[in-house]
């Protein structure tokens, strides 16, 4: 068994691809600002977060080359996000369910 669990071949991304990713990011920024000017109530927050997540995935996949890395790094990134979601989620078990007057 190979001792290195994490040995991808170095991958060179073309300037064209990177620029296309940048254009997508810029468009999404415009889109999210446009959406913010329409009043959707709490959905504004959800929509903004969804777009931010999409942008983040683009940055991670291409600018940070994660798309071309081994399974280990991808899995670990997923783990970090799950962990954060759990920290926040379990805290909300307290915050969202306090009895009235318990502030």
């Amino acid at each position: 068994m190979d001792p290195g669990d994490n040995q991808p071949a170095p991958r060179i991304l073309s300037s064209r691809l990177l620029t296309a990713v940048w254009a997508a990011l810029a468009c999404l920024t415009g889109l999210t600002m446009l959406l913010a000017s329409i009043d959707l109530g709490f959905y504004n927050v959800l929509a903004a977060l969804a777009i931010a997540t999409a942008k983040a995935l683009l940055v991670i996949a291409f600018f940070m080359h994660l798309k071309y890395e081994g399974r280990l790094l991808k899995g670990l990134l997923f783990l970090a996000f799950v962990l954060l979601a759990i920290f926040i989620g379990l805290t909300f078990l307290d915050l969202a369910f306090r009895a009235p007057g318990q502030s």
Partner: protein, 544 residues
């Protein structure tokens, strides 16, 4: 000192010999050799342990009789705070991983060093800096911190004592811990020797791996919490200030999101030590290797989901109390799996009761008592009765001192001969153990009863009905101190003047025992190739 000047005599001292003829402090504090860094950590940790223990003795002396005024009230508050801060952040969190982990990890996986040797040295420097800043916080500003090691708001925001500097020290120490963790994870992934598959890793390495993950992923929460307390005090952000619309309970959430997993940073490596020692002295393969390795990871992950069991009486929602109580019971399962597997390994083994094994058995006893009493508090109903009483104090001293402490002592008795090449006195090591065990139980067991009777923790004085238990506890602290003196003296005398230990005094099967004691600077002259597991002992009589 090596008066003979014979080249071979110098070679015998392995990595302890002055590198390139350079001796003195510089050859240690600037060395990137993982073995030297491990010993630096070990020295600092033991010195700070003694400092923390002295503070504990002072506290016990003050509490010996009701109405005793040996320490002024404010001094007493500072003493229990410092005892906690030193023991938790400077001793227990680095304890086994930073000292024995650093020394042994590359040896166990057949590597010449950790993945990032210079980063490793930086971790130690940060640890030292953190210790210095903590020291400064005691003697500068307007008095030593008096909040307890938990730094709970609102008191930590308002007290005029030097909390701002103390939390900076905590931040720096957290950074050091993160760097050690990421170094270890990378080392285990990248630097295993050929043939050393994941299933052939020693269980000590497995426990370091699980610990390192907690260090990387939970410690940043401590970092941000410390920064928040700092900015609450300096910048007056008011994020936890109820009068400005903040929620003080969120501080407790953040604090325990790190600080509960932190107890696993303390205990998991000790469990790894136990898992490595027991098969050696039972001359048997470990029972349930896979389950022990898996349970380390299970403890690390489920242990991250139970933090709010420290907050059952804080005014949290009832649903949260229910869920966190349930999760707390679940995390007991993997710990129980470990204890079961250790006992099964001993069963029908060919046991030789050498000092490392005896200290290990002490670990199992103390950890079991402490762990089971932890379940009693994890039950939401019982928790309301014992919350913030001496019951809690007894519980975590059983787990952390009886567990991690005895685990560390077992590791000292097991690996010091490897580190220094010399053997201590066996009979004295056994005697010291019994004194320590008696002292520990006399010191902490009465606290269970005091807690059930209603004695609150951290109080300066107490009612007459608690006098008997408090007195017994103080006597126990003296016996424990005596036992520690005996043990440390015996170990020190052994490493100075003891007989040569030889490469493998215990007949163990992990890779470090294939090297001379102390190991040479470059560890393995040739990269070892591994064909067997860590607990495959050669058969008696030489038939392989």
């Amino acid at each position: 000192m090596n008066p003979a000047g014979h080249p071979d005599a110098a070679d015998d001292r392995g990595f302890l010999a002055p590198p390139g003829g350079r001796r003195g402090l510089g050859s240690w504090v600037f060395s990137t050799d993982h073995k030297r860094i491990g010993l630096l950590y070990l020295g600092c940790i033991l010195a700070l342990f003694l400092a923390g223990a002295l503070l504990g003795l002072a506290m016990r002396l003050k509490l010996m009789t009701p109405g005793n005024e040996l320490l002024a009230a404010q001094t007493y508050n500072a003493v229990f705070t410092l005892h906690g801060v030193i023991m938790i952040f400077l001793v227990l969190i680095p304890s086994i991983p930073a000292s024995f982990g650093n020394f042994l990890l590359p040896l166990h996986i057949g590597a010449n060093d950790v993945a990032f040797p210079r980063l490793n040295l930086l971790s130690w420097w940060l640890y030292l800096a953190g210790a210095l800043v903590a020291f400064v916080s005691i003697f500068s500003g307007s008095g030593a911190p008096d909040t307890g090691w938990t730094f709970y708001v609102p008191f930590s925001q308002r007290t005029t004592t030097n909390v701002s500097v103390a939390v900076l020290a905590v931040f720096i120490l957290g950074f050091s811990s993160i760097l050690t963790g990421l170094n270890f994870v990378t080392t285990i992934h990248q630097l295993r020797a050929p043939g050393l598959t994941w299933r052939r890793l020693s269980l000590f390495v497995w426990s370091l791996y699980a610990t390192a993950w907690i260090q990387v992923l939970a410690t940043p929460i401590l970092g941000i919490t410390a920064l928040l307390i700092f900015s609450e005090r300096v910048l007056n952000l008011g994020l936890f200030d109820a009068s400005r619309g903040g929620d003080p309970l969120l501080y407790q959430h953040l604090f325990w999101i790190y600080s509960h997993p932190a107890v696993y940073i303390m205990i998991l490596p000790a469990m790894g030590v136990v898992s490595d020692i027991i098969p050696v002295f039972a001359r048997k393969r470990i029972f349930g290797y896979k389950m022990i390795a898996f349970s380390s990871l299970a403890i690390a992950s489920v242990g991250s989901l139970v933090w709010a069991h420290h907050m059952f009486t804080s005014g949290m929602s009832d649903l949260a109390v229910l869920v966190f109580s349930f999760l707390t019971f679940i995390v007991a399962v993997p710990s129980a799996i470990k204890v079961f597997n250790w006992l099964s390994t001993l069963y029908k083994g060919s046991i030789s009761l050498e000092p490392p094994l005896l200290y290990t058995l002490g670990f199992i006893w103390m950890f079991s008592v402490g762990g089971l009493s932890g379940l009693a508090q994890g039950a939401a109903g019982a928790n309301i009765h014992v919350h913030d009483t001496y019951f809690v104090v007894a519980h975590f001293h059983y787990v952390i001192f009886g567990g991690t402490g005895l685990g560390l002592f077992a590791a000292l008795h097991f690996w010091l001969p490897k580190m220094f090449g010399r053997m201590y006195n066996r009979r004295r090591a056994l005697a010291a153990f019994w004194v320590i065990l008696a002292g520990m139980n006399l010191l902490y067991f009465p606290m269970f009863i005091l807690g059930l009777m209603g004695m609150p923790r951290r109080y300066y004085d107490y009612l007459p009905q608690f006098a008997t238990g408090q007195f017994m506890s103080t006597v126990g602290s003296w016996i424990l101190a005596l036992g520690l003196l005996l043990m440390f003296h015996n170990l020190y005398a052994g490493l100075r003047r003891g007989p040569l230990a030889g490469p493998n005094p215990w007949g163990a099967a992990t890779l470090e025992w294939t090297l001379p004691s102390p190991p040479p600077r470059e560890n393995f002259a040739q990269e070892p190739v591994v064909h067997k597991g860590p607990y495959d002992f050669p058969r008696q009589g030489g038939h392989a």
